[in-house]
């Protein structure tokens, strides 16, 4: 497989673009977009990632098979996030029907402390619980 020689100027342009986008990420963090906070931040991050992958990592100049491989890793990442979210998005549904105690990660820290039999960090609880 041949890689065309990419002129240094291209790398510099991409580098500049990445810097600008980084500054933009910081800038938009000061504005409250409400629901769109994550969307805006992720959009910028994805654009940056695409620039790095396509130019710095030469994917743009590579065989289609490598596109497939890079693409499938993105798909797999989505699978991981997506199926994990099936848990997080639906975890409280039964709560409203009164069928399930509160998720324990929302228990206040003081209660957690009290639950430990002794010691300040509950080390004994940890070692006998297994």
């Amino acid at each position: 497989m041949e890689h065309p020689v990419v002129p240094v100027s291209t790398y510099l342009k991409i580098f500049a673009a990445l810097m600008v986008l980084t500054a933009l990420t910081v800038a938009v963090a000061f504005i409250d977009w409400g629901f769109f906070n994550d969307v805006v931040a992720m959009t910028i991050a994805v654009i940056k990632a695409l620039l790095v992958v396509s130019v710095f990592m030469h994917l743009k100049y590579s065989a289609r098979l490598l596109w497939l491989i890079a693409g499938s890793s993105v798909v797999w990442f989505m699978v991981m996030v997506g199926l994990t979210l099936t848990d997080y998005r639906s975890r409280d549904w039964l709560l409203h029907e009164g069928m399930r105690p509160e998720p324990w990660h929302s228990v206040p820290a003081e209660v957690m402390q009290d639950a430990a039999p002794s010691g300040h960090n509950g080390a004994e609880a940890g070692s006998t619980g297994h």
């Binding site: 199926l83 994990t84 297994h130």
Partner: protein
């Protein structure tokens, strides 16, 4: 290549091409690297096995009289970490895969030989770190490193062990990358995708799982490190994290890791069953595609490890359904192997006995997996010995049986010597009996409520525990017996010809052991895989001296 000094001269092969220790440590020959992995894995297997012997002895009595609870916890952790990360995951790919895959595709070496050597060093580095963690105080988290115990309470050897597993992961990535590129780019003329041996398909599917999954567990292990070392809240609820997130990330890799351990065995079993039934594998394409299907669907099922965590019940339903689904391609394979044997002329040498062992034990392991993937029954069976028995039926009954079958099948190819058949058949039977005596009672124990990872138990369970310990001794005896006769055969075994089983496939068309460059004449493939209906023709052609005796 530096080691390639031999030409067509008779009697020169990869083992005697050079003799110095350095010629092994700096070799880029995939066959020598495979043998180096074999030696290292035997050592790790002995370490992991020794831990199992100790805790099985403890479990002979209901009281915790032989080991303290901390020591017991450290021993089962050591057993799990060593056997999974340093034996089962690399076992078939790094030993048999490294040795055979380039020969099976008819090329001289893997695509990146130096990367291949690097993988062994990286693996050893990871292994040594884990070993230091174990002897330098031990780790008691279990091989799963569950948070918040691992990040908040357990001793700091956790960091070393986690580093060891993290580094070892890179060695599997290097091996997998090598295999994928080799299979794509270096197949011999005439060797189309659907002429590849099913072992190669299995290696390909395994490599994809490794490449897609291992980075995730690596990052997850780094997160443990970061939370422990710098107090960054990721999994610790007191710092705003979520411990169940760890389980998601961990099992996203570690369930597919089960397929990293079992798919290669399935490949081995396909080769063995075809050879000892003298038949083409029934439904070749289905078996090939089912490897890929298992690799893909295997990624969608991890939540079945978390039914009794605080995971949402709805997510549990989805994961339960998807888990049933992954049984389909597995069942296709078992059915097709059975159909292959139907009306075949079956002979019962040791490799075939191991393949039979695999079929029966893996099926039991798989079927009991369905009990566990059913939400309601899992509530009862979760974290009991039923789970322990289930995954040992899959991992040992499936994974290790496949490895041993493959080791016997290709032993003459790798060493140039036959193992003693009578002893091998005896050992295979001992191992089969010992295995079942060890683990079948554990299904009973778990069903009756014996939780895993406890060193004391109610006296009612003692009879079953004694059976299990007795079985473990028989199993251990079988392994030692095998180590004994295989070692003996290196020096005293009957010399093997190029094709002692009269098998089909490129690896049987070169001499035993193969020359450093694998083939003196680059092979051309003219047949489908498993062309048992034809005489093996290329063998006498390219190597007039070698005889093919069945």
């Amino acid at each position: 290549m530096s080691t390639a000094t031999s030409t067509a001269s008779e009697g020169k092969h990869y083992l005697n091409a050079k003799h110095t220790v350095l010629s092994w440590l700096l070799t880029v020959d995939h066959k020598r690297i495979g043998m180096m992995y074999l030696v290292s894995l035997v050592v790790f297997f002995l370490i992991g096995g020794a831990a199992a012997v100790l805790f099985r002895l403890e479990l002979m009595t209901p009281a915790g009289d032989l080991l303290r609870s901390e020591t017991y916890n450290k021993l089962f952790t050591m057993h799990g970490i060593v056997m999974i990360f340093f034996f089962l995951i690399p076992s078939i790919p790094a030993v048999l895969g490294n040795f055979l895959l380039p020969i099976m595709v008819g090329t001289r070496d893997v695509a990146f030989p130096k990367l291949n050597l690097a993988s062994w060093y990286v693996f050893m580095l990871g292994g040594i770190l884990a070993f230091v963690a174990i002897v330098g105080g031990g780790v008691d988290t279990g091989w799963t490193f569950y948070t918040p115990y691992s990040t908040m309470y357990a001793n700091s050897n956790v960091i070393l062990a986690v580093c060891g597993a993290f580094i070892a992961g890179f060695s599997s990535i290097m091996t997998a990358l090598n295999f994928v590129v080799t299979i794509h780019k270096m197949r011999a003329p005439g060797l189309t995708w659907f002429r590849l041996p099913l072992f190669v398909w299995a290696m390909y599917a395994t490599s994809l799982v490794v490449l897609l999954g291992t980075p995730v567990v690596a990052i997850t292990l780094v997160m443990i490190f970061v939370e422990r070392a710098f107090g960054l809240g990721i999994f610790n609820p007191a710092l705003g994290g979520d411990p169940v997130l760890f389980q998601h990330l961990f099992w996203f890799y570690s369930h597919p890791a089960v397929y990293i351990m079992i798919l290669p065995s399935m490949g081995v079993v396909s080769e063995i069953i075809a050879c000892f039934s003298r038949r083409r594998i029934y439904g070749y394409k289905f078996v090939a595609y089912s490897s890929l299907a298992i690799a893909v669907i295997g990624f969608f099922v991890w939540g079945h490890h978390m039914f009794v965590s605080s995971q949402s019940t709805y997510a549990g339903m989805i994961f339960s359904f998807l888990t049933f689904f992954v049984a389909v391609p597995t069942a296709i394979k078992v059915l097709n192997w059975t159909m292959t044997m139907y009306k075949g002329s079956i002979s019962l040498e040791a490799p075939m006995l191991y393949a039979f062992g695999f079929l029966g034990l893996f099926t039991i392991g798989g079927m009991t997996g369905l009990f566990l993937s059913t939400l309601a029954t899992d509530i009862h069976l979760h974290d009991t010995y039923f789970v322990v028995a289930h995954f040992h039926y899959v991992m040992v009954g499936g994974g290790v049986m496949g490895f041993l079958g493959g080791l016997h099948f290709w032993w003459p190819k790798m060493t140039g010597r036959m193992y003693p058949e009578g002893w091998a058949i005896f050992a295979a039977i001992v191992i089969f009996v010992g295995f079942n005596l060890t683990f079948f009672p554990q299904f009973q124990l778990g069903y009756h409520g014996m939780p895993r990872r406890y060193h004391e138990y109610p006296a009612d369970f003692q009879v079953l525990h004694i059976m299990s310990t007795a079985g473990a001794s028989v199993l251990g005896f079988g392994y030692l017996l095998m180590a004994g006769y295989l070692g003996w055969s290196l020096k005293f075994g009957k010399k093997a010809g190029a094709n002692p089983w009269d098998a089909r496939g490129l690896e049987w068309e070169t001499s035993s052991p193969p020359p450093t460059e694998n083939f003196l004449v680059p092979p051309v493939v003219r047949h489908e895989a498993y062309a048992y209906e034809f005489e093996s023709e290329t063998s006498p052609e390219s190597h007039p001296s070698s005889e093919s005796s069945a």
